[in-house]
């Protein structure tokens, strides 16, 4: 009797009740996946790499042992800060990536509706998915705990810092994971979820505070608003923004004597706020998952109810006598290359139709002009750094679009089983390849046109020198060819869209971020002049460096009025390229190299077309 009554009581208190059997299933499955073990290995390697960089930065070997010993406390602090920040950023990235297919996989495999026929609740589905993935990340956090404990021996790091940063990291990646899970409900492809989650987090923790801050700043310059951002706004910002909170927490640890005007910050409050935000988002996800699951269980095709506007339009057309809704569609005739025609019919961002894309573009242009207005009010629109920032932003966005669209161009067809049909036609492989490449360029064109529009506008009003048009054209031609070719290769090489996108991004990060960072650590590349020159040549191939050099030299009203011969280009350690002729030659050389690699990759992609058709 007692035994039977005790069982349900212990069962109801068990935390597993919240996650249900799905948690157990996810753990079993993840233990069988090799990629999880690879992930841990890569995590440890990267952690070691970053710790080594900062260790070498603080304790340099050429100084005496006494000096080095005196810097141990600082080294301890630096290493702990490195580990904490490394964990803080990577765990959020991992949470976004790992949860990007959490619900979409169930939707795609049609198992979500099946789960609804069992006693499992939608809360258990969401919690089971969320916590099983987060447990993997917690395991990664645990890997670095012994290292943190050892480094604390050096002194100077209070235990509260470790505790607070750990709690902040936990709540930050919980929130990032919740965002990713939320988007994975109605987005099938992992890379779409990853991009949407990254944009959302960037908007919430980057764009929004910066815009609000800029707006307050502009109002203060105009004299129409408050003189400066008030203390409560800073306190609110610190308690709701994990990056700001972590920065302040780290700053407080590094120099315990903080200025008196420092705003009040309580890390537990920040953690509670982040937990509340995660809980609310998860609750919304639970509701949507339930709706989606029930629709799937009852065999409805549209898993999410249509938006009101769409419904209204459909109803209106249905009411018109004698005309069914399907007769309303406009048929567009195929012109030119069929592959190119088909590619250009696809929306720039999947799931967003051309009408909404156009509205989005108009809003972007309006927002762009608003930022011009703010810069004008701040008297900095004629400065070269402003145009460098704009160009960098356009290049960054354009590169991302080119990488994603080229990497998805073939895998998406393979995933939807349309690829064999395409290959069974009499089109030759070159035709398909050129159509795909042309399609990628055509779909990315709006972003590059924004860059062109910006440069042309400011050339006209003489804030940018006209030579920048030519230089940026060369630079963009090389970059687009390279990214398109490489993206197409990965798209032909991999079966899954997400793998192709990740490989594309991975290559870009490796050659333009990681490799320069690693080379900069090698003494030969920093001290030996011959090696240093080679390193500078390699560094100058970086698109960020090229666009910065070109726009810094030709941007601003002062440069715009200079003669061509007076323009000076600041390439890293390459004085021979400082004049316009040298810079043009360098840019042309890099363009040829990038184009050659791009074309070689595209050719390799073509060779792989018929290798893994299914």
């Amino acid at each position: 009797m007692t035994t039977t009554s005790a069982k349900p009581a212990s069962h109801s208190l068990s935390p597993l009740r919240l996650t249900g059997p799905l948690f157990d299933k996810e753990l079993r499955v993840s233990s069988r996946r090799r990629r999880n073990y690879a992930l841990r290995f890569v995590y440890v390697i990267l952690l070691t790499f970053f710790v080594a960089i900062f260790w070498l930065g603080v304790v340099e070997s050429e100084y005496s042992p006494v000096f080095q010993k005196s810097r141990m406390a600082l080294a301890g602090k630096t290493i702990i800060t490195t580990i904490v920040w490394f964990q803080f950023i990577t765990t959020q990235l991992l949470a976004v990536v790992m949860l990007s297919t959490s619900i979409s996989d169930e939707v795609h495999h049609r198992t979500l509706g099946l789960l609804m026929t069992t006693p499992i609740t939608s809360l258990q589905v969401v919690m089971g998915k969320l916590f099983s993935k987060l447990l993997q990340i917690i395991l990664l956090l645990a890997i670095s705990l012994p290292l943190l404990a050892v480094v604390r021996v050096f002194g100077g790091v209070p235990a509260t810092y470790l505790l607070s940063s750990l709690c902040m990291t936990l709540t930050a990646f919980l929130f990032a994971g919740s965002v990713s899970l939320f988007f994975s409900i109605n987005n099938r492809r992992a890379y779409v979820v990853i991009i949407k989650a990254a944009v959302t987090l960037g908007f919430l923790f980057g764009f929004l505070p910066v815009t609000i801050g800029a707006a307050f700043g502009a109002a203060a310059i105009g004299g129409s608003g408050p003189p400066n951002t008030s203390a409560w706004q800073i306190v609110l910002f610190l308690h709701t923004n994990p990056f700001a909170a972590m920065s302040l927490n780290t700053a407080m640890m590094m120099s315990p004597i903080m200025p008196a005007a420092m705003p009040t910050f309580y890390w537990p409050v920040h953690c509670v706020l982040m937990l509340v935000a995660s809980t609310l988002l998860t609750a919304v996800s639970v509701g949507i998952v339930r709706r989606v699951a029930l629709r799937q269980a009852t065999g409805q095709l549209d898993l999410l109810p249509k938006r009101r506007g769409v419904k209204k339009r459909k109803n209106k057309s249905a009411r018109q006598p004698g005309k069914s809704q399907e007769r309303f569609g406009i048929v567009r005739r195929v012109k030119g290359s069929p592959v190119l025609w088909k590619e250009t019919r696809a929306p720039m961002i999947r799931g967003i139709d051309s009408r909404n894309s156009f509205i989005g573009l108009v809003i972007t242009i309006i927002a762009l002009f608003m930022t011009y207005a703010v810069c004008k009010k701040s008297n900095c629109l004629n400065e070269s750094f402003v145009h460098t920032t704009y160009v960098l932003m356009f290049v960054f966005i354009g590169s991302i679009f080119t990488m994603v669209l080229s990497a998805t161009s073939i895998t998406s067809e393979r995933e939807s089983s349309a690829w064999p049909i395409m290959l069974a036609t009499s089109m030759d492989d070159w035709h398909i390849l050129l159509g795909k490449a042309g399609g990628v360029f055509r779909r990315c064109l709006p972003v590059w046109l924004l860059l062109a529009g910006h440069v042309l506008l400011f050339v006209c009003i003489r804030y940018i020198h006209p030579i920048a048009i030519f230089h940026l054209l060369i630079f963009v031609a090389g970059l687009v060819s390279f990214l398109t070719g490489v993206g197409l290769y990965f798209s032909a090489r991999f079966k899954r869209t997400t793998s192709a996108v990740v490989a594309s991004f991975g290559l870009a990060i490796a050659i333009w971020i990681v490799l320069p960072a690693v080379l900069s650590l090698i003494p030969e590349f920093t001290r030996d002049s011959d090696q240093r020159e080679k390193f500078a040549v390699y560094l100058s191939a970086n698109p960020a460096v090229q666009s910065t050099v070109v726009t810094t030299a030709a941007g601003g009203d002062r440069a715009a009025r200079l003669k061509l011969s007076k323009l000076r280009y600041q390439w890293p350690n390459r004085p021979g390229w400082s004049r316009v002729g040298g810079a043009t030659r360098a840019l042309l050389t890099y363009m040829v190299i990038y184009m050659s690699i791009g074309m070689f990759s595209a050719w390799r992609a073509k060779c792989r077309f018929r290798r893994s058709v299914f």
Partner: protein
């Protein structure tokens, strides 16, 4: 004409197709049957140039599929077992896209697409988004796509799978129409009774090897079940059993429902003997009919149901 000689396709050590040889005559409908993983789809993929054979030769209208890929693709219309559709296209656009892909001139495309839409009875759906079509309609669209460049040979991998009975009958009728148009059709299916009705020849494949190829008539002696008839008498069935069992040509008589299943000794053909014996005994004979060989029976007898 399709000709396959000693065709083999290996995935590592696994033989998906092993020394397969067969010939399909021009204008025939050839049914390709086999259990899951037998090698049907692999053979079809080799024929449509999507896979390279490990060894052997396959040719369509004397064109080697490995060497003349582009020419072969012009001759062949291929419908895979699972057909992908493009999300953002309408039915007309989808077909016109493939018309353009096969290099049909722009001026001719509209009339060709309209003709194919009429043949497949899809005119009312031409402005409908492809991904919103039902499974049956998508299969029909797949057939329409296959016909867009007027190929001489159609290779259809389970075109009726997942369809309701009405859609299956419609597809069957469409295939008969295509045969009348002189197309050579190679079709695989698990709905064996359907192939029985439309195929001139069948090929049964298992473990990548062809275990039988021929007409429906040719399959009977191959299975050793020739000489089986069903006899129905008006009354006194027991007496009929007694009389027929005494005949030297008959090896076995069995009552199956209201009929008698009579099996002759090998090499004997005793339809006339049965009729004479029963009439002589003053019995009313309602029917004597040869036992129908069902393709399902042949399939079960010829294959062991072992899957790779």
């Amino acid at each position: 004409m399709i000709e396959i000689k000693n065709l083999a396709k290996y995935y590592g050590d696994l033989a998906a197709v092993d020394d397969l040889s067969l010939t399909i005559r021009e204008g025939d409908i050839f049914g390709f049957i086999g259990p899951n993983g037998a090698g049907k789809t692999t053979t079809m993929r080799i024929l449509v140039t999507l896979l390279e054979p490990t060894s052997g030769r396959a040719s369509i209208h004397n064109l080697d599929v490995s060497k003349s890929g582009k020419k072969v693709r012009r001759l062949v219309g291929y419908m895979p077992d699972f057909m992908g559709v493009y999300d953002d296209l309408k039915v007309f656009e989808y077909l016109e896209f493939f018309a353009a892909a096969f290099g049909i001139e722009r001026k001719k495309r509209k009339s060709i697409v309209e003709g194919v839409l009429e043949l497949t009875d899809l005119q009312s759906k031409q402005r409908t988004a492809v991904d919103s079509l039902s499974r049956g309609m998508q299969q029909r669209l797949g057939l329409a796509r296959v016909l867009i460049h007027d190929p001489k040979v159609l290779i259809l991998d389970e075109p009726a799978s997942g369809l309701d009975p009405r859609a299956r009958i419609e597809i069957r009728e469409l295939l008969r129409e295509l045969k009348r148009m002189g197309k050579t059709i190679m079709i695989s299916s698990h709905i064996l009774s359907e192939l029985e009705e439309i195929c001139d020849h069948i090929g049964i494949i298992e473990h990548g090897k062809l275990v039988f190829s021929g007409t429906m008539e040719e399959i009977r002696p191959h299975l050793g079940i020739r000489g089986k008839v069903r006899v129905k008498v008006a009354e006194n069935q027991d007496k009929a059993v007694e009389l027929l069992s005494a005949l030297p040509e008959v090896s076995q008589v069995q009552a199956v429902g209201d009929k008698l299943a009579v099996t002759f000794h090998e090499g004997s053909d005793g339809d006339g003997v049965i009729a004479r014996t029963l009439v002589k005994a003053d019995m009313d004979v309602i029917s004597i009919e040869p036992e129908q060989l069902k393709l399902d029976d042949a399939f079960l007898q010829l294959t062991k149901g072992i899957v790779h």
